[in-house]
């Protein structure tokens, strides 16, 4: 494997450390930031209240919803019941990191064909500032999609020829062509989608769901992340655990990231000579020391640590069964394709996402990188679609045939769109596209979302939204709504504010796309 080719796009930097690992920032400061609120809670409540609630809440993360009448209220005091009856129990988020071009996938723009190599009209751009990557270009020549579109399904949705498998399930999808965001570069844009905020440190969507609803299955993490092998080794997006962190929420709400090798969770297996009984005794010993410490100092972070030991112990049993695909029928491999047998591929991760959903994992996020086609887009996006199309469609088909699509919400999309004009030289067979935050396409399926519809429209250049804009906050509010959560009512007090995923700017549930 040769090393990734770094691009001038500022944050294409591979697997760099997160802000939390930045040198020069004292660990104590980071800790203080992270625990400021919980410490204040502790001081406010007093040691006794916390002590009483301590271990009782750790027996299972889904326990507090219905504690025995004689048991004390859980420490967090959080009501894990949804605000209203949910449509979705779980969600699978297929994150196309790097931002797939809407022109070659979902946003059909036939009017562009005669515009080949003509300059983008100034009236369309409206004076918008361009990124550093194309601002110095002498021209902004319009690049129509090299790939053909056709209508598919009863819904007649236009789908690119690069997505022949997804086209077959298009009647199960709700395609949204009017997403928009503020961020113009990958890291802030991906953070905006995963955490609702372009600054790191906020809880991710999955962490909020874990915090707000608890677990369905106590034996597995509530929130799981999988990063997929990269089909292209250029324009690599950094993915770090701040994208799936618990932010200021308790650490047990962060995702467990499944690795692609033989050991999906590092150090989960007992070393030679240590059996389950010894391991249990060790954890009991550590837990007892930790609870002593908790009773003395009352820091809730200690309880989070105990919970994590317990989760790791439970995962020693639950994970091997999860990752053993030998119980899959032959039809699975026909559906997902041969690559699904190779750990770490996108197809493998899609199948794993279905297995996680079956076992009650609330939120699985599959990342597929290298959609960032600044140059050689026609060739590279074909590789990207070829790598993912069959598995994506397989996941929808599979969930549907197993009766799981009704209560599993599936979301597909990147972090922003791409420009109508070519970045770099435009030829009849080659072009690139720069970042474009003003509009991009996504789709949702299942979980109570209306199937077989398209929502939102862009102009002839897919540059501006002309109908039904959907901000990321609206997407988040809608996802929460399907889980029975009012996004304005799920909050966490931190730094003196009632923090919530959708923040304080206007956001709304997109009721028009709900069944």
């Amino acid at each position: 494997m040769h090393s990734p080719d770094f691009h001038n796009c500022s944050d294409h930097c591979g697997e760099n450390p997160t802000v939390w690992d930045l040198p020069g920032l004292p660990q104590s400061l980071k800790r203080e930031w992270l625990t400021a609120e919980t410490r204040r809670h502790f001081l406010g409540r007093g040691v006794k209240a916390l002590g009483a609630a301590g271990l009782a809440t750790l027996l299972g993360r889904s326990a507090p919803h219905l504690l025995a009448a004689d048991a004390p209220a859980p420490a967090a005091g959080l009501d894990l019941r949804p605000h209203f009856a949910p449509k979705a129990k779980r969600a699978i988020y297929l994150f196309m990191a790097g931002a797939p071009s809407q022109f070659e996938t979902w946003d059909y723009k036939p009017a562009l064909a005669p515009m080949f190599d003509k300059d983008l009209p100034e009236s369309v751009r409206g004076g918008q500032v361009l990124t550093g990557m194309t601002a110095s270009q002498a021209r902004l020549p319009v690049a129509p999609s090299l790939y053909k579109f056709a209508q598919h399904g009863k819904s007649g949705t236009w789908v690119s020829e690069l997505l022949p498998h997804t086209a077959k399930v298009v009647d199960d999808l709700c395609v949204i062509k009017s997403l928009h965001t503020e961020a113009i570069n990958h890291e802030p844009a991906i953070l905006s989608i995963t955490t609702g905020n372009m600054f790191p440190g906020k809880p991710s969507l999955g962490a909020w769901l874990s915090y707000g609803l608890g677990a369905i299955n106590d034996e597995l993490p509530t929130f799981v992340v999988m990063t997929s092998k990269m089909p292209v080794r250029t324009n690599v997006q950094a993915l770090s655990n701040r994208l799936w962190s618990s932010g200021f929420l308790s650490p047990e709400h962060a995702a467990v990231s499944l690795r692609s090798g033989a050991d999906p969770v590092l150090y989960l297996n007992n070393p030679t000579g240590i059996d389950g009984e010894v391991r249990r005794a060790m954890i009991d010993g550590v837990n007892s020391l930790n609870s002593d410490l908790f009773n003395r100092v009352g820091d809730p972070e200690i309880n989070a640590r105990i919970a994590q030991y317990e989760m790791a112990f439970r995962m020693q049993t639950s994970v091997p069964e999860l990752t053993d695909f030998s119980d899959e029928p032959a039809s699975t491999w026909e559906l997902y394709g041969p690559k699904a047998k190779e750990p770490g591929t996108y197809a493998y991760n899609c199948l794993m996402a279905r297995r996680l959903a079956e076992r009650g994992v609330r939120f699985s996020q599959v990342f597929l990188r290298t959609w960032d086609n600044h140059s050689q887009l026609p060739e590279r996006i074909k590789i990207m679609c070829g790598d993912s199309d069959q598995a994506t469609a397989a996941l929808i088909t599979d969930l549907k045939q197993r009766g799981m699509l009704d209560d599993t919400l599936v979301v597909w999309g990147g972090e922003f769109g791409r420009t109508v004009y070519s970045q770099g030289t435009l030829t009849p067979t080659n072009y690139g596209r720069d970042h474009h935050p003003r509009c991009f396409s996504m789709w949702m399926a299942g979980g109570g979302v209306k199937p077989g519809i398209s929502y939102g429209e862009t102009d002839d250049f897919s540059y501006n939204i002309v109908k039904d804009p959907v901000h990321i906050r609206d997407l988040h509010a809608t996802i929460f709504n399907q889980f029975g959560i009012d996004h304005n009512r799920l909050s966490f007090k931190f730094q003196g504010l009632d923090q919530k995923l959708t923040g304080v700017l206007p956001s709304r549930v997109i009721n028009e796309i709900l069944a």
Partner: protein, 295 residues
Amino acid sequence: MKSWPNFLRCPAWSALCAFGALATFVRGEDSFYAQRVAPILDKNCVVCHGAKKQKGDLRLDSFAELVKGGKNGAVVKAGDPKDSELYVRVTLHPEDEDFMPADSKPPLKPAEVKVLELWIAAGADDRTPASAVKGAPALAAPKAPTPALTADWQPRRAEIAALEKTLGIRLVPRSRLGTDGLVLRTASAPGLCDDATLAKLAPVADLIVEAELARTKVTDAGLAALATFVELRTLDLTRTAVTSTGVAKLVTLKKLESLNLTATAVDEAGIAPLKSLPALKQTWLFGTKVGAAAP
């Protein structure tokens, strides 16, 4: 609307109206006051200015009381909202000590303030018909109450918690509404849930609207017990050892809407009796001997 007697339904009044003598004189239910103003006062003000409490010697629970005013005199000046205490007090800065509703109760919504303003400007009476006041914000359509799926589980909290503890299953409320029912959840330890478990859950069967039994040890014998869970809407039996014999017993589940039999040994004989179930919309049969998924 409680604040005004229903004159229009009074026979004597109807007779008068029929006579035509007072045809233009609208009182009661059709007036802007009764339709739009009184509900706002009832919701926001009457708790302190009503029959129980009369802060400032003011009552706002009927038009007659309202026009009497309080200890500082009249609260409305017809035609002049800006000089009417009723309007001024609700439009002050919320931190002003004279702001109403007092004591950090939620302020009136902008649409409610607008209704008061229009009403005072139009004469602050109880005769002007609702249709005669232009520009009033549209009334939100009354939200239909969520229909109760089951009895409220909350009074039986202790009984439910005890069953959870002894059986190793969970009974999860579908929402914060007690009458939305419970979900029988087994995902943490499907191996602990068997036919005996279902039999022991019979005392709370009337509260369970959804049973997640995928991968459990439930067999046909358990389905006999499950046949008494008549509130079930959703039943998932994926990868259980149930057969057609057991599934046929589910014909008592008249409210069942969704039945998942994925990867079970059922065949046509098992699902044929279910075709009579009135509410059943979807039956999932992937990986069974039936093949195609059809209800």
